[in-house]
Symmetry: C2
Subunit: 364 residues, 2 copies
């Protein structure tokens, strides 16, 4: 494995999307909601450990989740966990990680990825990321991974490709980025997919450290200047104080909006390794293994009859869960919450909104 | 209150009808399933304490429930709890209580009643029972209470009245019993109710102790002979051994079948105090107080939306129960069982049957 390859896993998200299983104190990336035996964070780490040397894997998370990261990834060196004192979106996170990596290895090439996504074809994932990193190590270009859309999904952002500017990289295709778009409505999503010009925005980036630092300096100087001073503090006992001080001043801005939309060096690397951000119960249901009645069941003891299309999750040990005559419902039981709701993201979102309105925030 | 008035409360039933709230170890009579603050047994005791002297109230129960009775009725003297070693239906239970009462007071008049029924008009109940007892204290007749049917209920037994043989008792009407019938089907139940000749069989009896002992001696000599010897043991340390010995020999038989159907002294005392045996979740739902969406909710913390006609019960403390988009379901959550099932007695019965088939009897 190339000693210059680095991976930055972004694990700072707070989580209500799989409420009541996910909580502010236990967001999605730390959950094993598919019942695989590993959390999303652990799965993400394992995937990248096949691409970059283990000592070059860095996790950026919120200060409040540092203990969770340590517990789930005990093999990770303490200095490889970067703790963000405030939530400032992806650009500051990437500026921190990039300048920190640059300080120890200016020849580094990085892959940056969320910690809570689902990848169905891991071998293809490894091949695709490796190809992108190999290419990016030699060119000052910024790659974002775009996923071949398989349906007119309204829950994702899209990247429009400039179909006239493409290149073949080790059997893969990369296009010059034309536009980034927010989540479209159903009609627009259909137009996007049918056009053949749009890919799903995966939030995974590949670039060499010099290229991203130059781009940050050019397009987000107000962010980059703060971190550019970091060389003096990184790896010293003063690092955390320095980070706390500059994060307070730092604007919250995404790398897509702050850099990728502006630079002419942005390319989208087409990928088809089976990806989902598992951002909703519905997307979890779609990707999870189901029984012959299309139920996703995770309980210690069940008696389920005349029931189909349901998610049935109970985290209480030794509890018998009896379900009869239900169709397309979410049934989720934790130690302190029982939720029964149609398996419909819009209904579920109403519940999240109602929790605040009904002063049930303590259950978030 | 008349010192010769006695009450026998039958509290030996085992309970799966309100599963998973009721259990073999905690049957219905010991539950406060309506959320009133008192169990059915405690409510039954309170009702009869308005009619008979407290020291004359006797509870007959299974040996395994004696501690539960003591805990729920601490005011009851130890000798007023009769412990049955085996389940032998109502005739042996009544023979035991009757001979025991006769031993201390041969002039006694008794009311015998189940411990787990619901009475909506308690004042009328007191008046009706009092009138029946007053009359029965002077006549060697056996009264069963028949409830004016308000619907063609298929869950109850019916008593057919001999409309030509009636008498007025203190403003009430009693008819000679023509037949006892088992639970009818829907068509037959309609015919019964429309005929005006049928009353619901409440399982409540009123008679003087001499009359019931004579009737038992005549119609159930194989049972009565066993208990007739009891005078030697009742109130002594040998009573329980004696009872254990004779219960083993005793056939299991109901008082309806063993005595009331046979004797010409059986009368049905018409009553209309609002009665239900609350024998099913559906009957509980019908009689319980409901919210404006017709939901029966008993939980410490809920957020219920777009939901109607549901029973929502959670016995876990500090658990938030979130229910959305449900219609006519039973949602019952205990420490070790979560049940979600259509609010339909036949579906619920299937679950009870399935528990055994699926080797989940430990949850019964």
């Amino acid at each position: 494995m190339d000693k210059n390859y680095y991976c930055v896993i972004m694990a700072g998200g707070i989580g209500s999307r799989f409420w009541p299983v996910s909580r502010n104190a236990m967001p999605k990336q730390f959950l094993d909601i598919l019942g695989i035996g590993k959390s999303f964070l652990q799965l993400t780490y394992d995937r990248f450990a096949r691409i970059v040397p283990a000592e070059n894997i860095i996790v950026v998370t919120s200060q409040s989740y540092v203990d969770l990261v340590r517990r789930q990834l005990p093999q990770l060196a303490a200095e490889n966990i970067l703790a963000e004192p405030y939530r400032r979106n992806t650009a500051p996170c990437i500026a921190y990680a990039s300048t920190k990596i640059r300080a120890v290895n200016p020849a580094a090439t990085m892959v940056v990825a969320p910690s809570d996504h689902f990848i169905s074809n891991e071998a293809l994932f490894v091949d695709t990321i490796s190809a992108a990193m190999k290419y990016a190590s030699e060119k000052d270009e910024l790659f974002t991974l775009g996923i071949d859309p398989t349906r007119p999904e309204t829950g994702y952002g899209y990247i429009q490709c400039n179909m006239k500017q493409s290149k073949t990289i080790d059997g893969n295709i990369a296009y010059k980025v034309k536009t980034f778009t927010e989540k479209p409505n159903r009609e627009l999503a259909k137009v996007f997919v049918e056009s053949g010009e749009f890919l799903w925005n995966s939030g995974i980036f590949v670039w060499n450290v010099s290229a991203i630092c130059s781009a940050l300096a050019k397009w987000l100087p107000e962010v980059f200047t703060l971190f550019n001073d970091g060389d003096r503090y990184y790896g010293t006992p003063q690092e955390q104080d320095f980070i706390t001080r500059i994060y307070e001043e730092c604007p919250a801005i995404s790398i897509d909006y702050g850099v990728m939309e502006k630079t002419s060096r942005a390319w989208v690397f087409q990928a088809s390794f089976g990806w989902s951000d598992l951002g909703t119960w519905e997307s979890l249901y779609l990707h999870a293994a189901k029984d012959s009645d299309r139920n996703l069941v995770k309980c210690t003891d069940t008696m389920i009859d005349s029931t189909s299309g349901c998610v049935v999750i109970s985290q209480e040990k030794d509890k018998l869960v009896v379900v009869k005559g239900m169709k397309d419902y979410l049934i989720v039981n934790t130690d302190d919450v029982l939720m029964i709701c149609p398996r419909d993201d819009s209904k579920f979102k109403e519940i999240l909104a109602d929790l605040a309105v009904n002063e049930k925030s303590r259950f978030m």
